[in-house]
Amino acid sequence: MDAVNRHWQVLRALVLARPFVLVCLALFYVVAGFLLLMLDADKKISVILIMCAIPACGVFAIATQRVIQYTDAGSSLGLPRQRESMRVGQIWVLCVFVGIPAGIAAALGGNLSYIVLLLVPAASGVLLAIYARWVFFVWITFAVTTRGTYSFGAWMPGLGNPWIRAILVCLSVAVLYWWLGLANRIARRSAPALVIADARHESTTASIGQALGADPKQYELYEKAYDRGITAVVSGITDRGITKRALQVGLAMPGRTNWRFVGVMIAISLVALLFFHLKNPNPAQPTAYLGFTLLTAVWLFGQLNVVTQAWKARANEEALLVLTPRWPAPDKLKSLFLLIILERQGGTWAAWILVSLFATVLRWAAVEEIFISVVIMIAASSCATGALMLALSRKVFKEVSLLTIVALLCGAVGTGVFLVGDDAIAHGQLFGLSLILAPIAVGALSFSFRPLQFPARIINKQ
């Protein structure tokens, strides 16, 4: 009985502990139940499979995210039997959300080779949780650039082919097998790191290298370079103010743009564009260039997200720095943040401009697409910059901020309205442009006139 209770607790924690999830699941299964009662016997199996596939995808995505979260927290605290509990919970999720519907479909006389396809949404949920934005954008990119050839709907007739079904099931089994070992892998990664309790290991360079598991000679070289780096940073802290680099070191923010990485990304993008251009040379069709722009927009968001994450994670260090005599006045600090915001976007814009130039000159993209891409990039920059500025100038930082969501929606809706244009809506382009620029305008106003939130004050709404 204890074991059943424990398993139920883990299942509850993994999937059911949120009212929203429960309501969604209940709705799905209630609707499925009604449909089952109303439909003919031959259609019942398809309904069961489809109505259970959609929640299965969501449930597996939620469960994966929580397995990662709980295992990470549990392992770093050294909780016993955490991995086993997670694995048992995962097996329960698999049984309840895949096993039971599959069992019912089998009892109704369904074709086994179709029933096992229920594993596919489960595996998709796992992938969606881990590689969400990449899965989403790769899918969108393919759908856009190939005019729906690879969209979800296009896959459905393909399921009639037994070989495709077999491949999908095999891939799903592989993903789910990997998923069942996820807790183990995370636990190994999150185990408490090496802790050094006294200074004895620092008697010689060799001993410290040994203690830290590094080659002593390499460590010595690294230490010298590191000291030089700190000397350069420290020289930027004077009575007149501090440099941008000094602020970045204090908040553990990445420093200058990694131009080598930008160069590699440009090269990869050009090769990918060339590949798609050779596959689809007709310039009348949307090309992979639009997909590239979407990925670049996501990259831009990521670049500014690094600043947000560093700022909110270093509240303790910020509290110490703000109490030091040479810490700059709020206005100067705002200027430094502004410089960082601009610098963080530099690499992304440079990559996009360079690839766009190539795409235009080599006629890999139509002028119309270039225009759409410019709008998308401006909207992404406006939203990301506006959201960060709003966060920096609020009284407290909230994980879920309505204002930020509104800013992001403005950008997205504005892009759509602008691209639809004046034909569909009166003054559509003007309205769209206003919406696109609204986030950065509101953010800049708030950032200019409101006090900077430093140190960060985080409110977690669990």
Binding site: I196, I237, L320, L321, V322, L323, T324, W327, R457
Partner: protein
């Protein structure tokens, strides 16, 4: 002379919960105050408001006569702060952290810092994130003292330290206090350490200062437990005692001056039994925390 630290009617709420409720506290230059309170009593909140790191909902706070929210560069140079969480700048090595933070102080005392590092055996070449909490805590204290501050705020700084290092830290603070007359607010749950260092105890409870008394007078108090039928206890006048608490029906815990205990007990009515729990300052002070 201006007060080292001052809170006037400071109020703060979190999500509708009143953590500080019109709190008043003054610490004069050269005073060492031990701050006590149950977990969640608002000690860290009070210290953060005092340092200007958290805006108060109401009231005023100042350090060295300057409002906490707008401290001048000169005032900041005189402040030393050791926060509760020791792992600050975990991505830097100890030496890099001290060089980095030290650069923000025009007169960071490197000689003194190095002597502390030597005496407290601190790792400087290892990333702070890999150090034990005790090592991180020592580094944090060294960083704070290296600036030679006049106003020091320590928020549970010695919880992770071994007894020998704890004593060494307290001794260092005592010496600094004697030599330079620094004002200290020391928040801790280890009353023994506070007795060694502080000349005043402040206990926070219910969002207010429940006790503000010199260490010497707290040492003269005893805790008395009286038991009797509740009806009888209700008729007894306990107003002469320093503190009265009702842990359960038919029982009162009292705090009284050691010298007056015999007289006080003699005046209790027939049927009330009393026992003197003469343990230590900690058990007496804990009466205000409950």
């Amino acid at each position: 002379m201006l007060e080292a630290f001052k809170c006037e009617a400071v109020a703060k709420s979190f999500g509708g919960r009143r953590v500080l409720d019109g709190l008043n506290l003054t610490v004069e230059p050269g005073e060492t105050v031990g701050l006590l309170g149950a977990n969640g009593a608002g000690k860290t909140t009070m210290l953060k408001i005092l340092l200007g790191l958290l805006p108060a909902d109401g009231g005023r706070s100042s350090i060295g006569g300057e409002p906490s929210g707008s401290l001048s560069s000169g005032a900041r140079a005189r402040i030393g702060y050791v926060p509760q969480t020791p792992a600050q700048f975990a991505w830097l090595t100890g030496r890099a952290m001290l060089r980095y933070v030290g650069a923000f102080y025009p007169r960071f005392d490197w000689q003194y810092t190095e002597s502390l590092i030597e005496r407290w055996k601190i790792s400087l070449r290892t990333p702070i994130g890999l150090l034990s909490p005790g090592q991180q805590q020592r580094l944090s204290i060294v960083r704070s003292l290296g600036a030679r501050p006049d106003f020091v705020v320590l928020d549970e700084p010695i919880a992770a330290l071994d007894p020998a290092t704890r004593l060494a830290v307290i001794e260092e603070l005592v010496q600094e206090h004697r030599a330079r007359g620094i004002a200290i607010i020391f928040s801790s749950h280890i009353t023994g350490d506070l007795v060694r260092l502080c000349n005043r105890f402040v206990v926070l409870a219910g969002g207010k200062i429940a006790l503000n008394e010199s260490t010497v007078s707290c040492g003269n108090w005893v805790r008395i437990v009286v038991t009797a039928p509740e009806d009888l206890l209700r008729t007894v006048d306990f107003s002469r005692y320093r503190h009265v608490r009702t842990p359960k029906e038919g029982e009162r815990t009292l705090v009284a001056l050691r010298a007056e205990t015999t007289d006080a007990l003699a005046q209790l009515p027939h049927g009330v039994s009393a026992s003197i729990e003469d343990k230590d300052v900690e058990s007496v002070l804990s009466e205000w925390m409950q």
